[in-house]
Symmetry: C2
Subunit: 663 residues, 2 copies
C-alpha cells in the first residue's frame, strides 16, 4: 500500500511514539485555561475563596505532597498498563484514541456535566441526543422530527447495557396491547375500528395483540388516546391511563402477568450461537430466563443460519410462544463476522404474513462503525462493486446485503468505545421509532398544574429528561461531548470514519493472505487453520503440532504459544514483542458440523472434543484459538522492510519453534 494512503491517519491519534504530543498538550492546556478563566467570569465580584497565601501553609503543602505521592504511584503503576495504542497490540477491541475525542473528553470533564437531564447538563444532553441522530442516520434511519417514525438514540455505559435496553424496550411494547385491552374492559368509550385489523379492541385475541409490530402497537396507543380525547374528558383519560399502567407487564411483573394471562406463554429471544455473553446475562437479569434464549446455529462463516432461524421461529410460533426479539450480530466479538441481516428481515416478512411478529435488534457493538464505509456523504448507500474495487475481498455479497438491511431493524447497539476510538465508557442504543420512549417513562403523560392539561410536551423537549427513558440515571456528559466532537470531525460516512474502517479491513485482508501462505509453508511442523473466514477485521487461528490428534494437547500447545503474548502486570510491558488475545469455541457456540469441520481440518480426533472431558490429558471441552483484532491503523506500516503484520507472523514462527521443543 503506497505511503500516501497512510497520510490521512497522521493527524488522527497521539501516535505509537506519541508523535503528536505537542498538539495534544497544546490543546489540553488551552482548554484547561479556557475553563479556568470561565470560572473567573462567574461573579468576579466575589473575589477569591482561596487566599493567595494559602499555598504557603503547611497543611496545603502537606495535602499537595500526598496528592502528588498518590498520583506518582498511579502513573508509575500505569507503566504496566496494556499498550493498546501500539500496532504491537492486536488483542482486544481497543487501540489508540482519536485526538478530537480525547481532548473533548478531558475538557468536558472539567465542567463535569451530568446527562441525566438538561438541568444538570445544559449543553451536553443536547450533544448526546445529536450523537443519537448521527449514529441513527449512519444506520439509515429517518431522523427529522417530521418523520414518522423518527429515530433517536443515546449513550450507555457500554454495549452490554444497550443490549439490556433493547430487551426492555421490546418487552414494554410487546405486551402493551394486552394491557390496553384489559384496561378498556369496563370503560364506556367504544374502541371500534382499532389497529391493523380494524376491529373492536375487545375482539383482538391476545395472540394477535402480542404479534402486532412495534409500530402497530405505537399506532394503536395513539389511536386510543385520540379516541379518548374526542369522546372522554381529562378525568377519563387519566383513569384510563392509570388502568392501563396497572395492567402492564412492568407493573404486574413477569410472573403475575403470565399467571393472569395463562393462555400466553413467556417469550423467547433468538440469538446466533456466536452472540456475546451479555445476552445470557440480560435474560437472567431481566427475569426473562436464560432458558428462553434460543441459540440459532451458525454456518461455516460463523454467521446466523437463516434456515435454522426459520425452523426455530416456526417451532416457537407454532407452539404459540411469543418471540420478543431476534438479534442479528454485526461483527461478532470473537470473529468479527456479520450475520445476514437481510435474511432475518426476509424471514420477518414471511412471519408477518402469517400473523407472527418479533422485534429485530442488531448487536453492532463491534461492527456498527463499519457502516460508515457503506455510506456516501449524501446519505446514500454505496454500490458493492465500487466498494469491492477498494479491497481484495470485502465486502462479500452477503456482507454488503447485510449492511443494506440494517435500516429495517427496530434498534441497534453500537459501541463508540470500540471502533469509534473514543475513551471508555461509551456505548450507544439507537431506536428506529422514538415514540417507544412513551412506553418507558415513570411519569404520567399529563401534568395538570401547568394550565394546559391537554397539551403533550413535544418529543424533542421530553427527551432532554434523558434519565426517564433509559436504564441508567446519572451519566457522564463528557462521554457525549467526546463522541459528538469525534463524529463532527470524522463524519460517519466513507469520507470520514469510512477511511479508518477501510484501513482495518485492508489490514485484515493482508493478515489473512499471510495466514494461508504461512499455513502452507509451515505445514510440516504445524497445521494452521483460520476456522472462520473473516468478514471484517478480526481473525482467529488454530494451531496444531503436526501429527497430534488430541484436542487437549493442541490446546496446551496454543496456550504455550499464547503465554508470550499475554498481558502480565508483574513484568515490564517492554518485554512484549506482541500482545494478543485468545478465545475458545465450545459446544454452545459452535454446532456439530462446524466443530467437526474445524477439528478435521486440524487433524484432531473429533472424539476428544467433549462437554465433560474424562481424560483431561487428551480431551477438552473447548477449542483454543489465538484471536487478533486488527483495528490499529499502523499495522501495515513498515519498520525497515517488514510491516507489523509480517513481524507478527515472524514472531509466531519463533513461538511455534519454542512450543514444539516442549511438546
Amino acid at each position: 500500500m503506497p505511503a500516501s494512503d497512510d497520510a490521512f491517519i497522521h493527524p488522527l491519534f497521539l501516535g505509537p511514539a506519541a508523535e503528536n504530543h505537542e498538539i495534544l498538550e497544546k490543546l489540553v492546556v488551552e482548554f484547561l485555561r479556557d475553563h479556568v478563566y470561565w470560572r473567573r467570569n462567574f461573579h468576579p465580584e466575589d473575589g477569591q475563596r482561596i487566599p493567595t497565601t494559602a499555598v504557603n501553609q503547611p497543611e496545603f503543602q502537606d495535602f499537595l505532597a500526598r496528592t502528588k505521592k498518590e498520583l506518582y504511584k498511579l502513573s508509575a503503576d500505569l507503566k504496566s498498563a496494556v499498550p493498546f495504542f501500539h500496532p504491537r497490540y492486536i488483542g482486544h477491541m481497543t487501540a489508540d484514541l482519536l485526538l478530537p475525542g480525547v481532548v473533548a473528553r478531558i475538557l468536558t470533564t472539567l465542567y463535569n456535566p451530568n446527562n441525566v437531564s438538561d438541568e444538570a447538563a445544559a449543553v451536553t444532553v443536547d450533544r448526546e441526543l445529536r450523537v443519537g441522530t448521527q449514529l441513527a442516520r449512519m444506520f439509515g434511519y429517518a431522523t427529522e422530527s417530521k418523520n414518522e417514525p423518527c429515530a433517536w438514540g443515546h449513550l450507555t455505559s457500554g454495549g452490554t447495557v444497550a443490549n439490556y435496553e433493547a430487551l426492555w424496550n421490546f418487552n414494554s411494547v410487546k405486551f402493551y396491547g394486552i394491557a390496553l385491552q384489559a384496561a378498556a374492559h369496563g370503560f364506556d368509550v367504544e374502541f371500534e375500528n382499532m389497529g391493523p385489523l380494524d376491529k373492536r379492541l375487545s375482539e383482538y385475541t391476545k395472540w394477535e395483540l402480542v404479534n402486532l409490530s412495534l409500530d402497530q402497537t405505537i399506532a394503536l396507543r395513539r389511536q386510543i388516546s385520540e379516541r379518548l380525547r374526542v369522546h372522554g374528558d381529562a378525568e377519563d383519560h387519566f383513569r384510563f391511563a392509570k388502568a392501563v399502567r396497572g395492567e402492564r407487564i412492568e407493573t404486574r411483573g413477569n410472573a403475575a402477568f403470565f399467571l393472569e394471562h395463562s393462555e400466553l406463554k413467556p417469550p423467547v429471544v433468538l440469538v446466533p450461537a456466536s452472540a456475546h455473553y451479555s445476552w445470557e446475562k440480560g435474560m437472567k437479569v431481566l427475569g426473562l430466563g436464560r432458558a428462553n434464549l434460543i441459540r440459532v446455529e451458525v454456518d461455516g462463516h460463523m454467521r446466523l443460519d437463516p434456515i435454522d432461524l426459520r425452523t426455530k421461529l416456526d417451532a416457537a410460533f407454532s407452539n404459540r410462544v411469543p418471540v420478543l426479539a431476534v438479534v442479528g450480530v454485526l461483527g461478532t466479538t470473537e470473529f468479527g463476522n456479520i450475520d445476514p441481516i437481510h435474511e432475518i428481515v426476509a424471514v420477518r416478512k414471511d412471519c408477518r404474513e402469517r400473523g407472527w411478529d418479533f422485534g429485530l435488534h442488531i448487536d453492532a457493538a463491534w461492527g456498527g462503525y463499519l457502516m460508515s464505509m457503506f455510506r456516501e456523504t449524501d446519505g446514500s448507500f454505496r454500490d458493492r462493486d465500487e466498494m469491492r474495487s477498494e479491497h481484495r475481498y470485502f465486502p462479500s455479497d452477503e456482507v454488503h446485503a447485510a449492511f443494506s438491511a440494517v435500516r429495517e431493524a427496530d434498534s441497534i447497539t453500537v459501541d463508540p468505545h470500540k471502533l469509534g476510538y473514543v475513551p471508555y465508557a461509551a456505548g450507544a442504543f439507537i431506536a428506529r421509532n422514538r415514540e417507544i420512549v412513551d412506553f418507558l417513562t415513570q411519569k404520567a403523560a399529563y401534568v395538570f398544574d401547568l394550565g394546559d392539561a391537554q397539551k403533550e410536551t413535544p418529543m424533542d423537549t421530553k427527551l432532554r429528561g434523558l434519565g426517564q427513558y433509559i436504564l441508567e440515571g446519572s451519566k457522564s456528559g463528557a462521554a457525549a461531548a467526546s463522541v459528538y466532537v469525534t463524529h463532527k470531525v470524522m463524519p460517519l460516512d466513507q469520507t470520514g470514519f469510512g477511511q479508518l474502517m477501510k484501513k482495518t479491513i485492508g489490514t485484515c485482508e493482508f493478515f489473512w493472505d499471510e495466514a494461508r501462505e504461512r499455513a502452507e509453508r509451515w505445514k510440516d511442523r504445524v497445521t494452521l487453520t483460520v476456522p472462520f473466514e473473516p468478514d471484517t477485521n478480526l481473525v482467529c487461528l488454530a494451531i496444531n503440532p503436526a501429527g497430534n490428534t488430541s484436542l487437549a494437547a493442541m490446546n496446551r500447545f496454543g496456550r504455550a504459544i499464547f503465554a508470550s503474548m499475554k498481558v502480565d502486570a508483574n513484568r515490564p510491558v517492554q518485554v512484549k514483542t506482541f500482545i494478543g488475545s485468545y478465545t475458545s469455541l465450545t459446544k454452545d457456540n459452535v454446532g456439530g458440523p462446524q466443530a467437526d469441520r474445524i477439528l478435521d481440518d486440524l487433524g484432531i480426533d473429533r472424539a476428544t472434543f467433549r462437554t465433560l472431558p474424562k481424560d483431561p490429558e487428551r480431551e477438552a471441552d473447548h477449542i483454543f484459538l489465538l484471536r487478533h483484532t486488527l483495528m490499529n491503523p499502523w499495522l501495515q506500516s513498515k519498520v525497515e522492510d517488514r510491516n507489523y503484520v509480517e513481524m507478527y507472523w515472524d514472531f509466531l514462527d519463533e513461538l511455534i519453534d519454542g512450543a514444539l521443543e516442549d511438546v
Copy 2:
C-alpha cells in the same frame, strides 16, 4: 466559624475562581508528558509512525483545523454549562471536583484501561477492587480475605445500576435453595443434615428455603458442594451443577419459575415512600413488577416508619409472600434524610425468629460518604457525644444509631460522583459477603482442561474477571483510578473525608437556623416552612403568600420564585445570582398525615391537594418545594460581611417581593 477551619479546604479543589489553576495545570501537563514518554519507551527501535514532516501536509493541517473548530465550539457552548463548582450553585447533588480525583481521571484516560477484566486493565481492575475494599471498610464490613464473610465492591456507572444490582444479587440467592432441592431430587448422593435446620435437603419446605438468609444459602451451597466432593466424582459434581443451573430462576425466567413452584408467590420489595425512582425502574426492568414494590410510610422526618414496616412485612409474610429486600435510604435524594437502619435491623431480627427472612440493602447513593464522619482512623465507630460537640444538632440519636447499624446490611449503594466529589460516572455497589459472586457468574466453576479439575480459583483472582460478576461489561478504568486516588489522599474516616462532610453539615445547620429566623421575620408576607427537619445536608422550603389557601396558587408562586434560579442554556450563566433546584411532594411519597401537617403549617386548604385536580386554578397533584443541596464547601465563606447562605436568603427575600407583586 473561624477562618482557620476553612484552611483544610484550600488545597482540595480547583476553586470557585480557579484559584488553584497552576497546580491543576502543572499536574495535568506533567502526567500527560509522563504518558507521552511511556509511549516512547515501548519498542523505541520501531521509530516513528508519523513522519516529523506530516504536520506540514495540507491534509494534516486541515484535520487539525477542523478539530480545533469543533473543540472551540464545544468549549464556547460549555460557557453555558452549569457552574456546579461555585457556592452560588445549591441545586443538584454536585459541586467542585477534588483535585486528586480529577487529575487521576485525566491521566488515566490517556491509558484508557477497560475494567471489564484485568486482561484489558492490568492496573486499574486492582484499583477498582481496592475501592470496593475502602468503601466496605468505611461501612464497617470485614475485608480481609481470611474473614468470613468477606466484603467486596466495585464501581458502576451510577447508583441506579448499583440498585439494580442489589435486586439481581438478592434474587440470585433467594431462590437458589429451591433450585438445589429440585436438582438434588434424583441424585444418588444423600443430602442429610443440611443447612440451618440440620435436616435432609428434601425435607425443607419451599417457604423455608426462600427464608434462609443470604449467608445461610451461601453456606448451604458450600455444604452440598463439599458433600459431592466427598461422595461423588467430578462427573457427578458437573452433572449436579448443571441440574442446579437448569432449575434456577435465572434460567427458567420469573414466569416459568413461579408457574412451576406454584405454592410460592412472586416476591415483593419494600422501600420507604421517599425512595429514588430508580427502584421503580428497577422493578420494571428486572421483571419483578412495579406493583411488587411496596412503599413503607415515612414519618415527620421523612424517614421510613418502622411500625408501618412491621405491619407491611407481617402482611406479606403472613400471606406467604417472599420478601426479596427491604431497602433503607441513607440520605434521600430530596431531603437527605436518614432511614432508621437500626430499626430495620431490629425488625429483621424479629422476623428471623419467626422464620422469615429478607435481604437488607442500603441505598446510600447520597449519604454513604457521611459515614466517614463516624469512623475513627483505627476503624472504630465514633461516640455520639463526641460528634455532637462538633455540631449544633448533628447527629441526632436516630441518625447516629442508623449509621451504627449500616454494617448489618447485606449490600450498599454509594455514589462517589456525589459526596465523593469525583467526576461522572462513578457509582458503587458494595456487598457484605463476596461469595455471592458465585451465584452470578455465567461460567462453570470448574475448568477441566487445566489439569487440576478439583481446584477452585481463589476468590481474589476470580474477581479480576470483573465483567462476570456485574451488570455492566466494558467500563472505565479511569473512573476506578480517580476514586482510588481520592480515597488514598482523603481517607474515609473523620480525619479525611469526614472533615469535608462535617463542613456540609455545618452549612446545613446554619441554613436551617437562618430559615427559621427568616420565617419569623417574613411571616406577614409569606408562610415559610421547612417541611422536614434536615438530618444531614439538604433542606427543602415551602413558601406560601400570606392568606393564600390554594395549593395551585402556592405552587405558581413557588415556580415564579424558582424561575430566577433555573438553569437556562439560552442565557449567559453570569446573569444568575444563585442556581437552585426544586422538588415536589405527591400523594405517592408523602402519606396522609404528613401531607396534612405540611399543608396545615402553610395555611393551605387540604382539599386542594388532589390526585386528579379538577380545578387547576386552585388544586394541584403535588406540593412544590425549593430544594437546596448544601455540599459546596465555600457556602459559609464570606464576601465582605455576608456569607453565601446569607446572600442566598437576601436574594430569596427579593424574589419573594417580586413574586408577591405578581400575585
